[in-house]
């Protein structure tokens, strides 16, 4: 696994984490380049099926990040995201999806250094876990079995 570079997608909210990541850039703090950010108005918007889609498309790791609780630009979006995450995480774990590969965090618009830290930590841990080939195997399996039995 020496050459394996994980592919990580980050779903972030515009008002806090996206701005925080902007601050990381303005501060010229360097971090691992494996993460690609997709912008959302709020973590409340993030439909968690998207996360599964990301795994399906080949992501090795996923990050979801938004405003700290009580600081949501839209008041309560991040509360909903958090509640959803707790249930989704249980469900994924139950289904056998490797939840160590989904990192959920709160990064405010002022936390540029923290964003870099979280990215670096995430990349390092996903690199250790290796590529997430199992997901496609898990996701595809039942369909194949049904087809085989006609």
């Amino acid at each position: 696994m020496a050459d394996f570079e994980p592919k990580i997608v980050a779903f972030v909210c515009n008002w806090c984490t996206y701005a925080g990541a902007d601050l990381t850039g303005t501060s010229r703090i360097k971090y691992a380049s494996n993460v690609r950010i997709i912008r959302f108005p709020c973590t409340g918007r993030i439909d968690y099926m998207l996360l599964l889609k990301a795994f399906d498309e080949g992501a090795d790791g996923i990050m979801v990040s938004g405003c700290h609780p009580n600081d949501c630009h839209y008041t309560s979006g991040n509360f909903h995201a958090r509640r959803r995450w707790i249930m989704f995480r249980s469900l994924c774990d139950f289904m056998g999806i490797d939840i160590r590969r989904i990192i959920f965090s709160w990064v405010s618009a002022a936390e540029g250094a923290r964003w870099a830290d979280i990215v670096n930590t995430t990349v390092a841990s996903i690199r250790e876990l290796g590529p997430y080939d199992e997901y496609r195997k898990i996701a595809a399996k039942p369909i194949m079995e049904v087809e085989n039995h006609g």
Partner: protein, 667 residues
């Protein structure tokens, strides 16, 4: 068929030093749907923008992706450029190659690859963009101010002076609020009513202000610029148009023993009454709860003596409907009563009073005409104890916050007492002294140094009564918690400032949030102190948190500025990146099943129920509908919707899924 233009910016060397911009432009040019791809040194500059505009015109571009800095930086710039070139501004997206890529990674292949990936993501997204137009909502230029204390008065005057109409409603028979009850105000020791009453008169006489007293908000519908308010005018039992305010009825009313609310229970009033002599309007009301006619069917003396026959016993409450564009909440606060404090006797001792009651004693027009006298026996107290933080800053009492104004008014009360009772001795038991305003610290020092008020740092554990004296047990923490026992003649508790009784109910009628203490919630504690999360509703004064007069006035003016800003337009323009519930032709109408989970998710009450009816007017079913005037575009509802019937412009399902897919697939 998409015709997308990709414009990669070098940003001088900011991007090009680590990202190979030419390569990015080249890669982008190969994507399906991209018909124009170029790199340039400074995309945001005039020549740069011209490149974009020319490309739009010459190539007939249907979408523009600018790969440069953060959209938080220049999205408006490039959208404006596109609009000027005739392309809908919402067909322009930005890929963040600078803050998220070139500035945070080393020069190399991975960095360029990341840049290429980021551009590809936006190219795929933009294929699902729609042209959007800003939303316009009309504005009714009348403001409703709820609460006629100093904050409400200031807000009403400020808004009225900008030329707009104001309806001011106040639940008491007169405006003035708590400020009218004060004797003198800190730090100047100005006579409170002297500075307040001219404003009250101004409100009554202002041509743009309609004043309803003894009135309250019955209900509110609508949204910013378009509210419909129902105001309940409680029956005063007087015909205000013919009452001259002569006051004969008040002098003749035989029912004289009703505790006066204005005097905080320290004096009495009649059943037909005006709360205080300088009341505005200076017309009486009949208190139906205590009036002999309403309780027992007898008397009617006021009716007999009234020179203009203005008494109307059969008068009923009136509901007034008004169309409103903006609302300012200025309902103020109240103070905790002594019966809240078990350690101070559960309200048993008449000489243990609140700060507000002390104000009435000190007031020249109060029940004792300005003399400090004990409520129990009318004697002048020779030893008086002031207790700070009675209730405030106390987790055990459920009031962990600081009530802000007490340190100042205690110093004021102690000073007034010393000025009136030269031989008297006053003690203040405090935890800290909070005197943070202009001239405030100096004011407190005056009390200590000039007027000889004894400040003891410690709390009071118990007050009990013995032989007509109040035994106050406390401790002096600056003397190693030495126990202090004072035989006082009177104790004044600086009781906590709390939200009014009906605050929660009002907040729910208005759909504004409130905190656990029922103070109304501001939209942002630092940067939006006078706005609420409900568009068009603003806050002024102590209804948001305990505060003093200058701050309440400042806040009221701030709220008025917001209202004036709102009213300066005939139409409100809003960003169209909002949620939409799909509509389809009959017989589907919409994939929405009417579960209305979205309504519970929305923090802005922006989603309504719409009844779908057929041509005969029969109800088919109800589905969700987003009010474009209220939706702020968070998209929480979208993630909630089980049937994926609600979507948010700018971040639709298609757009977002296409971004994810684009990331991992080269199209």
């Amino acid at each position: 068929m998409s015709k997308i233009g990709v414009f990669v910016c070098h940003c001088g060397e900011n991007i090009s030093s680590t990202v190979d911009c030419a390569k990015v432009a080249e890669a982008a040019g190969k994507y399906d749907g991209v018909t124009f791809s170029v790199a340039y040194k400074y995309m945001c500059s005039d020549p740069g923008q011209t490149i974009i505009k020319n490309a739009i015109a010459e190539k007939g571009l249907t979408g523009v992706v600018v790969a440069s800095c953060s959209p938080r930086m220049h999205e408006p710039t490039f959208r404006k450029a596109c609009a000027e070139a005739g392309l809908n501004p919402y067909m322009c997206e930005m890929a963040n190659l600078r803050e998220h890529c070139s500035w945070v990674h080393e020069k190399g292949e991975e960095t360029t690859q990341k840049a290429i990936d980021l551009v590809r993501v936006l190219v795929e997204k933009i294929k699902y963009n729609h042209s959007l137009n800003p939303i316009k909502v009309p504005v009714t230029k009348t403001a409703l101010v709820i609460g006629g204390g100093i904050a409400g008065i200031q807000a009403s005057l400020d808004i009225a002076n900008t030329g707009h109409k104001v309806i001011l409603i106040e639940k008491d028979p007169s405006i003035g609020g708590h400020m009218s009850q004060l004797s003198e105000t800190f730090p100047t020791l100005d006579c409170s009513q002297c500075i307040l009453t001219p404003r009250m008169v101004e409100v009554a006489q202002h041509p743009n202000i309609t004043l309803y007293t003894y009135a309250g908000l019955e209900s509110l519908e609508g949204f910013i610029g378009n509210f419909k308010a129902k105001i309940r005018k409680k029956s005063k039992s007087i015909d205000e148009k013919i009452c001259t305010g002569c006051g004969l009825c008040i002098t003749k009313c035989p029912n004289k023993k009703i505790p006066s609310e204005f005097n905080e229970g320290l004096g009495n009033r009649t059943a037909i009454y005006v709360p205080f002599p300088q009341a505005v309007p200076n017309k009486p009301v009949i208190d139906r709860i205590h009036c002999t006619y309403y309780t027992k069917g007898k008397c009617r003396i006021c009716e007999k003596v009234c020179p203009t026959q203005a008494i109307r016993f059969d008068q009923e409450d009136q509901i007034v409907e008004a169309e409103i564009g903006a609302i300012v909440i200025a309902t103020g606060f109240t103070v905790k009563q002594p019966d809240f404090f078990p350690e101070y006797g559960y309200g048993k001792y008449p000489d243990v009073i609140t700060g507000l009651q002390f104000e009435r004693l000190a007031s020249a027009s109060g029940p004792t005409l300005g003399e400090i006298r004990r409520p129990s026996d009318g004697k002048i107290p020779q030893k008086i104890v002031f207790v700070a933080c009675a209730g405030s800053r106390d987790q055990a009492k459920g009031i962990p916050y600081c009530s802000k104004i007490c340190c100042m008014y205690i110093a004021k009360h102690a000073m007034l007492y010393q000025h009136k009772v030269h031989s008297g001795k006053s003690y203040v038991f405090y935890m800290d002294i909070r005197a943070g305003g202009k001239m405030y610290e100096e004011f407190v020092r005056r009390a200590i140094e000039d007027d000889g008020v004894n400040y003891i740092r410690g709390r009071i554990s118990r007050i009990y009564e013995k032989n007509g004296k109040l035994i106050v047990n406390g401790a002096d923490t600056l003397l190693n918690a030495m126990p202090v026992e004072i035989e006082a003649d009177m104790v004044v508790l600086a009781t906590a400032g709390v939200a009014n009784e009906g605050a929660e109910e009002l907040a729910q009628k208005l759909h504004v949030s409130y905190d656990p203490y029922h103070f109304f919630a501001e939209a942002h504690p630092k940067l939006k102190p006078v706005e609420t999360n409900t568009a068009g509703i603003f806050l002024a004064g102590a209804c948001q948190a305990p505060r003093d007069i200058p701050e309440s006035v400042a806040m009221a003016s701030g709220a008025s500025a917001k209202v004036a800003g709102l009213f300066s337009q005939d139409e409100l323009t809003r960003e169209p990146l909002i949620a939409v519930v799909n509509r389809q032709p009959a017989p589907v109408y919409s994939s929405c099943v009417g579960c209305f989970l979205c309504i519970s998710a929305c923090p802005y009450q922006a989603i309504e129920k719409e009844e779908l009816r057929n041509r005969n007017g029969d109800l088919i079913r109800s589905v969700a509908k987003v009010n474009p005037g209220l939706c702020q575009g968070c998209g929480t509802c979208v993630a909630f919707c089980r049937t994926k019937s609600i979507d948010i412009q700018g971040y639709t399902h298609e757009q977002v899924y296409s971004e994810v897919m684009a990331l991992f697939n080269e199209f």
